[in-house]
């Protein structure tokens, strides 16, 4: 085996360019004759757009053209990639989403016009001379108020602000209600999953280029999935066939979901570059990102748990309002439904579950997937509720969980919410968590805190997620308008080096390193002989991109399938060269040998023969060594884990300090433990951010109060401790060739409830027993206010 094969903590090769300033991000691309686009955006949340006058601005220096909504009336709507069917069998309400606003503006940040000029400064100067006449309308902000019969409508063409009213599993509803009616105990909780802004450190950028002679358009964009953008923009918005449209997502500075979606700015620069026959570039500022990047989460939920006299969970019922914002972003409808309702069983044997979700349009930025997408919402509700149940019943939250966990011998496990968990061992991750968090020493540490006037608390949370998105036939039934397979082409070069073209995309996940390890392991050559190519529709096969912790489970599996084809063909070539039967050929450590003999040919000997086929079975085998595979998973994967958080609360100020954070995850097999550990760290950092710091807040006029990094608090190095991370309790996935489950989102899913449970524990230990819940973020002011009201 090569030393850098599967399982090796290989250093990342991509780091060399990033550490020396040689990465190539979209904003680093500057094309000859490039123009600059500046978007003029709505400053009001809701208004009638009466007129946009560009006459004065058009005469300003450097201005090439000013585009308005009028220019896009005959252009397609920004499409939504998922159609949810409501409880009554009707499709969701789906409004038009124009590239530039026309007739109405629907959120602060809604683009109204774009100035394209020779320089960015000139574009900005001229933008101030564009006259916009808007009659303000009352904004729709609160979700429950938005559903009142007399509420103003975000979209006139719809019957109401309700996108859909979804029930799952609708047939279970009466049985669930009956179980509640006969329950020994019922525990309920109302909570908010705070609205967040993903804030990858690289703001979005789009550069459109058009070559009139070949009628070729190229879009360089900060995307997690260039093929998806090409399909959505080409087919649905601009009407450009795939062979005339190339989408390139070069180095991308983080995504976290918010760079999955097709955005108006991408369509705009592509359209404008075709109109003007010059490249057009748009670079978002951070403040612009706050009002134009899709936001995340924003659920308001009531959840109830029924238990029998022995504290077994007998039924679960939830009622959620999910904010869609002003338009349907690409995958928005799927997040509160199929990525949320199907996870409500969590790690538990609860036999009956009913989930209701009302998705609502409001005059806010569209809300879509953010790291975890639906699964953090499910986990947060459930794990807060189980903690509250333990507290109300006077039992240990750890034991209540253990009692109700699905047992290791019950896998595969059919949940009452459609999904079948293939493997897992929740007892093992819980035990490991208790060990690595030194739970046994907690009481002594709590006393030590008390002596310093501080309140120490310990909280745990368990999570399950559905990753490896997803079996295409299944998601098709659920409303997806795309397949969710992944692709790979393995091109073996004549001298034996390999270029792997993947449809997934790396924007921090380290695929260039870990994907090479997979191929190296299968062939038995060093990973340094293998390069991973991604991010360009011109050279990668049609793939669905990177999100939902799917890249290794689905994209990696496609690479395995393509490499298997390579190995099969190479064996045929070797058999010919060695004058042996194909069945007798063995591949080990990059060498083909005939079983039971000392006859062998090395990897490069075979690959050279494939391209210089002088001694080659041409009558039965094509020359060359290049294979493509499309892998469509047969099930989701189900990573799970136990997270523990230890906090100290300052009773005088309400300040929460995270003293320790431990994570015991089951990710199945692990290809690169160094990278996996890093993914967990990053997820925990974001989860702590959600729990303690981050909040996108609108005022009653629909102005975003947390509209810059001066008010939207991002976690910094001093907000977090070193984390304790363990991956020794992994149960391999049974249905993909690598046995992997995915690790990208776990940290962000498991950590918020662990943090909040720890704070509630600390407050109860400090005598503030009246506090049942505090909504995130648990800022010092909120914790202090809860203590005052307790």
């Amino acid at each position: 085996m090569p030393k850098d094969g599967i399982g090796a903590p290989t250093k990342r090769r991509e780091d060399l360019r990033f550490l020396t300033g040689n990465g190539r991000y979209t904003d680093d691309i500057n094309l000859k004759g490039q123009l600059y686009a500046h978007f003029i955006r709505s400053e009001v949340a809701h208004g009638q757009l009466n007129s946009v006058s560009t006459t004065a601005a058009e005469a300003m220096p450097g201005v090439v053209r000013i585009f308005t909504g009028e220019d896009f009336v005959t252009i397609g709507s920004i499409p939504c990639g998922w159609q949810v069917t409501d409880r009554f069998g009707a499709p969701m309400q789906e409004p038009r989403h124009p590239v530039l606003a026309h007739g109405k503006v629907r959120h602060v940040g809604d683009p109204i016009a774009v100035v394209v000029a020779e320089s960015l400064a000139e574009a900005r100067d001229a933008a101030e001379a564009v006259e916009i006449d808007i009659t303000e309308l009352p904004p729709v902000l609160d979700m429950k108020a938005a559903l009142a019969p007399d509420a103003p409508k975000v979209h006139e063409e719809l019957t109401s602000n309700l996108c859909y009213d979804w029930g799952f599993v609708e047939e279970n509803k009466s049985a669930v209600d009956a179980a509640f009616a006969s329950a020994a105990h019922v525990v309920s909780l109302e909570l908010v999953n705070n609205r967040l802004i993903a804030n990858p450190m690289e703001p979005r950028v789009a550069v459109g280029e058009y070559n009139a002679w070949d009628d070729q358009s190229t879009l360089y964009t900060t995307s997690q999935n260039p093929h998806v953008i090409r399909l959505l923009m080409g087919a649905f918005v601009l009407g450009i066939p795939e062979h005339k449209l190339r989408v390139v997502a070069p180095d991308v500075g983080g995504g976290f979901g918010t760079k999955i979606f097709h955005y108006a700015e991408e369509a705009f620069v592509t359209f404008a570059s075709r109109q003007l026959k010059r490249p057009v570039k748009w670079t978002s500022t951070r403040m612009e990102a706050f009002v134009s990047d899709a936001h995340g989460r924003d659920h308001v939920t009531k959840i109830e748990l029924a238990l029998d006299a022995e504290h077994n969970f007998t039924a679960l019922r939830t009622d959620t309002y999910a904010n869609m914002g002003a338009y349907l972003s690409t995958f928005a409808p799927s997040v509160p439904t199929w990525l949320h309702g199907t996870l409500m069983a969590g790690n538990y044997k609860t036999p009956l579950i009913y989930v209701n979700v009302k998705a609502v349009f409001t005059n806010t930025v569209p809300v879509d997937a953010y790291r975890g997408a639906g699964r953090p919402e499910a986990t947060f509700q459930l794990e807060r509720l189980v903690d509250k149940a333990a507290r109300e019943l006077g039992v240990s939250p750890i034991e209540l969980r253990r009692q109700n966990f699905i047992k290791p011998d019950q896998f595969p496990y059919q949940t009452p919410v459609a999904v079948v968990y293939d493997t897992g061992n929740y007892h093992a991750t819980l035990d490991k968590l208790i060990e690595i968090s030194d739970h046994a020493g907690f009481e002594a540490r709590a006393l030590e805190s008390k002596a310093r006037g501080k309140l120490r608390g310990f909280g745990i949370a368990h999570y399950i997620e559905a990753c490896g998105i997803a079996p295409s036939h299944l998601v098709g039934q659920l409303g997806a308008r795309a397949g969710l397979y992944e692709s790979a082409t393995v091109r073996v070069n004549a001298t034996g080096s390999i270029s792997v073209f993947t449809g997934s995309h790396s924007h921090g996940q380290g695929h260039e390193t870990s994907f090479a390890q997979v191929v190296a392991d299968m062939i038995g050559i060093p990973a340094t002989q293998i390069d991973i190519v991604h991010g360009d529709t011109a050279n990668t096969p049609m793939g669905m991109g990177t999100y939902g912790s799917r890249s290794l489970a689905v994209g990696g599996s496609a690479i395995v399938r393509a490499t298997e084809k390579i190995v099969n063909k190479a064996k045929k070539i070797a058999a010919h060269l060695l004058e042996a039967a194909e069945a007798d050929i063995e591949l080990k450590d990059g060498k083909f040998s005939v079983a039971g003999t000392d006859k062998s040919v090395d990897w490069a000997g075979v690959t050279l023969a494939a391209y210089v086929p002088h001694n080659y079975p041409l009558e039965s085998l094509e020359p060359g060594l290049e294979e493509t595979a499309f892998y469509d998973p047969s099930n989701f994967t189900y990573p799970s884990g136990g997270y523990g958080c230890e906090v100290e609360v300052d009773p005088e100020t309400g300040e929460v300090t995270i003293l320790a954070f431990s994570a015991a995850d089951d990710f199945g097999n692990i290809v690169n433990p160094l990278i996996v550990e890093g993914q967990v760290h990053g997820g925990i950092g974001q989860g702590i951010g959600q729990a303690l710091l981050e909040h996108a807040v609108y005022d009653d006029q629909g102005q975003l109060l947390s509209g810059s990094l001066m008010d939207y608090a991002m976690p910094r190095a001093l907000h977090v401790p070193f984390f304790r991370v363990d991956h020794s309790s992994c149960t391999p996935c049974t249905h993909n060739p690598l046995g992997v489950k995915g690790c990208g989102e776990a940290g962000a899913i498991g950590s918020p409830p662990a943090v909040v449970n720890a704070v509630i524990d600390a407050l109860h230990r400090g005598g503030y027993t009246g506090i049942k819940h505090i909504d995130m973020p648990l800022s010092p002011a909120r914790v202090w206010a809860a203590m005052q009201n307790s």
């Binding site: 030393k3 850098d4 090796a8 903590p9 290989t10 250093k11 990342r12 780091d15 060399l16 360019r17 990033f18 550490l19 020396t20 300033g21 040689n22 990465g23 190539r24 991000y25 904003d27 680093d28 400064a121 993903a198 804030n199 990858p200 450190m201 690289e202 703001p203 180095d251 991308v252 500075g253 983080g254 951070r286 924007h507 921090g508 996940q509 380290g510 433990p673 160094l674 990278i675 550990e677 890093g678 760290h681 990053g682 925990i684 950092g685 974001q686 702590i688 810059s708 990094l709 001066m710 991002m714 976690p715 910094r716 190095a717 001093l718 977090v720 070193f722 984390f723 991370v725 940290g747």
Partner: protein, 163 residues
């Protein structure tokens, strides 16, 4: 437009700038040094950190014209003369202190300034020093670890990287 000359990564470089041109734009646009990144507009994120006359500053909050005649060091000037990674850069790779790479130039420039002043900083000192640099990927764990390692100090347990 005014002609502007400064020493960047040891080389005298000239370009033209308006009064309003930011140092970050001058470096990226005029000098083509795109390793310096711009991640925000309120001087919060630190991705644009460079050194001016040996001091770490946020180049998105400095006018280019203020740097006439100054010695500026950017991420492109941090590797060893032979092109190999410096001790600090190597520690970032060894300890997986970066993921998407966007905040990385600022992190390295900021951490380098810390180690100049304080060759053996404690974990707490590192975390406080990095409060002007936001990373969205790593949860800071491996960044702090890398800075500890670069200063020759023990690091918390974890996976040990291989080549």
């Amino acid at each position: 437009m005014t002609k502007l000359t400064m020493t960047v990564n040891g080389r005298k470089m000239s370009g033209t700038a308006e009064g309003r041109t930011l140092l970050s734009d001058f470096l990226r646009q005029d000098l083509g040094l795109t390793g310096t990144h711009v991640g925000c507009d309120t001087s919060q994120c630190g991705a644009c950190t460079v050194h001016i006359d040996g001091l770490a500053v946020k180049s998105c909050a400095v006018l280019a014209m203020e740097c006439e005649g100054a010695e500026v060091t950017t991420i492109e000037g941090m590797a060893n003369k032979d092109g190999s990674l410096s001790v600090l850069q190597q520690a970032f790779q060894d300890h997986h202190g970066l993921q998407c790479g966007f905040c990385t130039p600022g992190m390295v420039m900021s951490a380098a300034a810390l180690l100049q002043d304080n060759p053996r900083p404690s974990e707490t000192e590192i975390r406080h020093h990095l409060e002007g640099n936001i990373c969205r990927c790593t949860g800071y764990h491996n960044i702090v670890k890398a800075v500890l390692a670069a200063s020759g100090q023990p690091v918390p347990e974890g996976v040990t990287a291989t080549d």
